[in-house]
Subunit: 235 residues, 4 copies
């Protein structure tokens, strides 16, 4: 998997801080833009996020390229609807040499992974055969597996990213989308550290939302994402 | 493929007509609900739709169950973001006897379809073997093909449905999602004939939006969806 | 203020329960529809809501008419974006006899309310004068106050309603939108008691999100909305 | 009115072009980023927009500060739901010296404008009196007029902007929101000329959607926005 941060709203934190100040200030943008020092502003941003005033961080948009994930993973990803996607099309792109993803649970067993690789080669052959016989690519792809590699360009705003991280950094999320979420978080934290200070799976903001299905690692998660809690006393 | 209209907003057209009247009337809902005869109201609804005042038909929601479609098709379907989905999960449901969809272009050749069926049986066997060896279902599914059958529960409002029909009734849409769109349109037209009178592919509302890639059948489409055009003279 | 539940998705809870079952079941809709008894299903719905699987209750849509609220209130209401609105237009409807809302804090002082009423009458006169002098209604309305009564037709799905209640039942929400939220909750609870069992302001689901600005009544709120908490032990 | 483009996605056109290429290319982002010359890319972007493949331009987000508009205007603006807003709050900001907007139809008549100004001064006085008597700002604002100036921070992506321009550049849109749309278009055209080449009111893309209520100036509009038409022959 390779995740690249392609672009984002210029000065994402500053923009959101200014937007936040518009709500409570009688002043115009010129005066609002005469900012206090950077750290103080970051503290303001962190505070309004912890109070749940999340609309403010919608003004920053982040665009990623995600490559080397399975179509199983992308099918989950695109279910996040407050986001924009451009995905490699199996209707238009010839997949006779498709790359594929091997889950760690399969990679761990050398005998299983051998059969798995063989299966993928056979599938490529069958796909190529279908295309050679005149079956349109959009129909030949019916034999392609969930494992087939896809590339997808994704844009999300700061608020949706926080929500995405809450759901997909959970230990019960599929391993692949969790790995993507971790890489995305690493990338945006470098650009907007205050905006994503509270990012983490659901359990770090309260009790585990998974109930009986809990992974039982809430404490470890709270340590790992140690700046994420919403304590009243922090405000 | 089997499409079932499971439920919808009670009195969908009447509700949208009332909503439309709220915009232009000084009266309260009690007076607005003293409606003129049904046909006259339908004409009012048709008129505001042709004028593009589509927010009014957002008040009617329609819920469908779509069964017997491929995961290739559902991956396209869920890209419509102003909608709600609940889909059979390959992470939780055992797929050792998965059903699969055979594209007409493959079904048309008896020799091809035979190899296709054989490939699907082999895939089932391999999937079962992986599960038997302790690979979690969410990883074993990496070998499942796009052809694998899925079931999906979908809700869309009237406005999104019109948009969905515009895109997916187009001859260049994938055959399977186009067939789903046709069945959905048949079902909602029985319940809300005025709301969906203008439903049709993009070309029936203007020139073909596909340019050089046009199917060349715009005239046939205009005949098929003959009530759909937005002529100024109709208003 | 008058809130009317105009329409909603037929059998809202049953529909959402069926949608929820589609996710985890290998069966088709026919078998899923052979439901167990109603109460057992309600418990299933309540459980998946407490686990945060809220997409399931998006399949139920509820349409309300809200009358007798101020434009100040409606300006807040329409900020909820996952919803549909049709509002009485001040561009098209003559407002020379506009109704207006009197906040309780003003109504409490007889001398203040007298001046308030007088101000409103003067405003009506000035508005009428402007219209009489040929100023278009869309410009004459510039003198109309926030207090001016509006009527608005609103549709939201179950998930957005839960979110709306969380924000707007808070004691720090404006009194008018909070009153609207309370009436809306009363109406939908009669139709879908399990779906809205957990409805309540943010503080009933965890610690107060308002921090130092807290109303200090979280305990009272937890008593009032006593079925709303998301305790792990409940799951 | 003052509209400022505060920030936007870095390299907005390049980002969208790359996203567009992901859909049709077997290549990874590294190869896609080895772009042809800028003009050729712009032509590619213009072409996919005219074909209606608008999801691609969702990857570019633009953030504006709009100052000096009325609350009447902002109430219309926030009805665009695929956007983010942060608005000066009349619940928190003291409005005893509120600025106000004077419609041109009122400004044109010196006697009317005099009465209008007088009315606004009286309103300020009454508002101040209410606040002085201990009425909370959120209730005192009930006397504030639609004319009261507001400041609002707005972010929209490229696709929503095209839609916004289509609706709000129409001669039948309220004059104030039309003026805001014109300023916004001027600002983004400098940054992303190919992305907004087709921007214009509905009538420039087909027949006037307003029917009998048409302003009758479709031809003038087509001249003014002369690059906007979607002719098949252009593709």
């Amino acid at each position: 998997m390779q995740v690249t941060l392609i672009s984002y709203t210029n000065n994402p934190e500053l923009v959101c801080i200014q937007a936040g100040k518009v709500c409570y200030s009688p002043h115009g943008i010129k005066q609002i833009q005469k900012q206090p020092d950077k750290e103080q502003s970051g503290i303001f941003l962190d505070k309004i996020i912890r109070m749940g005033h999340l609309s403010v961080i919608e003004h920053a948009s982040f665009s990623f390229m995600i490559e080397g994930i399975s179509r199983a993973c992308s099918h989950q990803l695109v279910r996040h609807r407050i986001a924009s996607y451009s995905q490699k099309s199996q209707r238009y792109v010839n997949e006779k040499q498709f790359e594929y993803i091997t889950p760690p649970s399969i990679a761990a067993h050398s005998s299983v992974v051998k059969t798995y690789n063989h299966f993928m080669e056979q599938t490529m052959e069958f796909y190529s055969e279908l295309v050679a016989q005149g079956i349109p690519k959009e129909d030949a792809r019916f034999v392609l597996p969930n494992a087939a590699e896809t590339k997808i360009f994704v844009s999300m705003n700061g608020r949706e990213l926080l929500h995405f991280f809450e759901k997909r950094l959970c230990q019960r999320a599929q391993w692949e989308i969790r790995a993507a979420a971790e890489e995305m978080l690493d990338l945006v934290k470098k650009i907007a550290p205050y905006m994503f200070k509270t990012a983490g799976p659901g359990c770090v903001h309260g009790s585990c939302p998974e109930g009986k299905l809990s992974c039982g690692q809430s404490n470890e998660m709270r340590k790992k994402y140690k700046n994420s809690s919403y304590k009243e006393s922090d405000l």
